[in-house]
């Protein structure tokens, strides 16, 4: 399946680019520009591209804009995406580090629903926040929250994880309660991949499976380990795997990155990229 990954690059002057992505020597290449794979959307796209290559698939397309937090790049990307939606030939989207903006979220979602109604929708990071804030979470196929973000989805009043109410502590032993609460309030996608000490794969409030081994503690501290997981899932969905299977295998592969890379908390996610092929093999 052809796929578009939409997100930002942490450089103010990085232009809006759209095209297929390549990965060479831990650098992402798109439209003649080099993007270092440190964390964020470049890391997600790098892991998708590498996984796709391992699976014999063509690379994903990316749409990237420079944004260091003021939201200007995000808004440029949103507007462009809405404008060209009718020309896109993609069957799925993964939305990532974008400034949450309910107006533009809704424009993008409605444009997809009008022009590409059967497209699969995956959201993580800022776009997952705004998908929940907008009240349209249930229109998505997959969210990939960590435990803090799961509490945010469970809190029907919170506009951001920063404002999640205190009674929803980030207690991993209560994940099932948070999942149930998020579905009750229609603040979850049809599927969830909850990332934590134990990863949960959920469909419509039903926990289909979990993965807790192998476990490498240092992975929690490394920026981008959530991005790598969402990146691997994206490629597996491109391969046509069903969502629960893609989530299960990706969660396993992401854990094997830690086993094979033997990281300390000082590693970067780019350091683990060369371990991906082995991790996929271990995960099956």
């Amino acid at each position: 399946m052809s796929w578009l990954i939409a997100g930002t690059v942490p450089e103010e002057n990085f232009p809006l680019v759209h095209g297929p992505v390549e990965i060479q020597d831990q650098t992402l290449k798109v439209e003649g520009l080099d993007v270092p794979v440190a964390r964020g959307t470049p890391a997600l796209a790098a892991f998708t591209a590498m996984t796709a290559r391992q699976m014999g698939l063509p690379p994903p397309q990316v749409m990237l804009a420079g944004d260091t937090g003021d939201g200007q790049g995000s808004r440029v990307l949103y507007a462009h995406l809405v404008e060209i939606m009718g020309q896109l030939e993609v069957e799925g989207f993964t939305f990532h580090y974008l400034l949450p903006d309910i107006y533009w979220h809704n424009q993008v979602l409605w444009a997809i629903q009008e022009k590409l109604p059967s497209a699969m929708l995956v959201a993580d990071a800022g776009f997952m926040y705004v998908a929940k804030m907008s009240g349209f979470a249930a229109d998505y196929d997959l969210f990939t929250p960590d435990i803090g973000e799961m509490c945010f989805l469970a809190d029907e009043t919170a506009p951001h994880p920063f404002y999640t109410r205190g009674f929803l502590l980030e207690d991993e032993s209560r994940v099932e309660e948070y999942i149930s609460r998020a579905y009750t309030e229609q603040n979850a996608a049809r599927h969830l991949l909850v990332k934590g000490e134990k990863d949960y794969i959920v469909r419509d409030n039903l926990i289909l499976g979990s993965v807790s081994e192998p476990s490498v503690a240092a992975m929690e501290a490394i920026g981008g380990t959530g991005d790598s997981l969402t990146g691997i899932v994206t490629a597996r969905l491109m391969a046509g795997e069903d969502i629960p299977t893609a989530c299960l295998r990706s969660a396993l592969a992401n854990r094997y990155l830690g086993v094979l890379g033997r990281p300390t908390p000082a590693f970067s996610i780019g350091d683990l990229l060369p371990c991906l092929a082995g991790a996929m093999q271990e995960a099956g």
Partner: protein, 182 residues
């Protein structure tokens, strides 16, 4: 789809989801007026409004602002020494920020998490070795500014942060400094 939207237009008009607005509360009306001008000048979409009934403190005007830009707004005001007495999210009732920290000791490294943001430091050298979590676009930028620098020499996240994720990272950073005084 447009046809359906026209038919069910009223359903679309019905409020859904949560508000993306926050409220700044001040002691004095003069502060409200000055703050509004400063924030508007900086390009933020702000409005002066009457306070909701839940707010029991401050003067009889508040500023509504886009809450994602809380850190940027507070930074602008701090430069002019204007300090709101309360900052909250606009919902059916007032929401307080996350105030609990989660700390994990990896032996040679210490990690502090505030809300959705984590910062990890090498305990011997006090070098910031990782920043993780979050979802707003300033997070990867902040990570680039902080990682590889010593905790007490690195720029504070609020210097470059613009969003609530940046604010969460500032809290985690302050807690890390408290635990590792250097």
């Amino acid at each position: 789809m447009k046809f359906l939207k026209n038919i069910f237009g009223k359903a679309e008009d019905k409020p859904r989801g949560v508000s993306e607005k926050g409220i700044l509360v001040f002691h004095h009306t003069s502060e409200v007026i000055e703050a509004e001008a400063l924030l508007r000048e900086a390009g933020l979409d702000v409005r002066v409004m009457g306070p909701p009934p839940e707010i029991q403190t401050g003067c009889d005007m508040v500023i509504e602002f886009p809450i994602m830009h809380q850190l940027q707004a507070l930074d602008i005001l701090e430069e002019k020494r204007i300090k709101p007495i309360q900052v909250t999210a606009v919902q059916d009732h007032l929401l307080e920020p996350v105030s609990l920290f989660n700390v994990k000791d990896f032996g040679d490294y210490l990690m502090v998490r505030a809300a959705n943001m984590k910062i990890t430091v090498d305990k011997k050298s006090l070098e910031i070795v990782n920043v993780s979590g979050g979802g707003c676009p300033d997070v990867p930028f902040l990570a680039g500014q902080l990682v590889g620098r010593r905790l007490h020499e690195a720029p504070e996240p609020r210097k470059y942060g613009r969003t609530l994720c940046g604010y969460s990272l500032q809290l985690a950073y302050e807690e890390m400094k408290r635990r590792c005084p250097g």
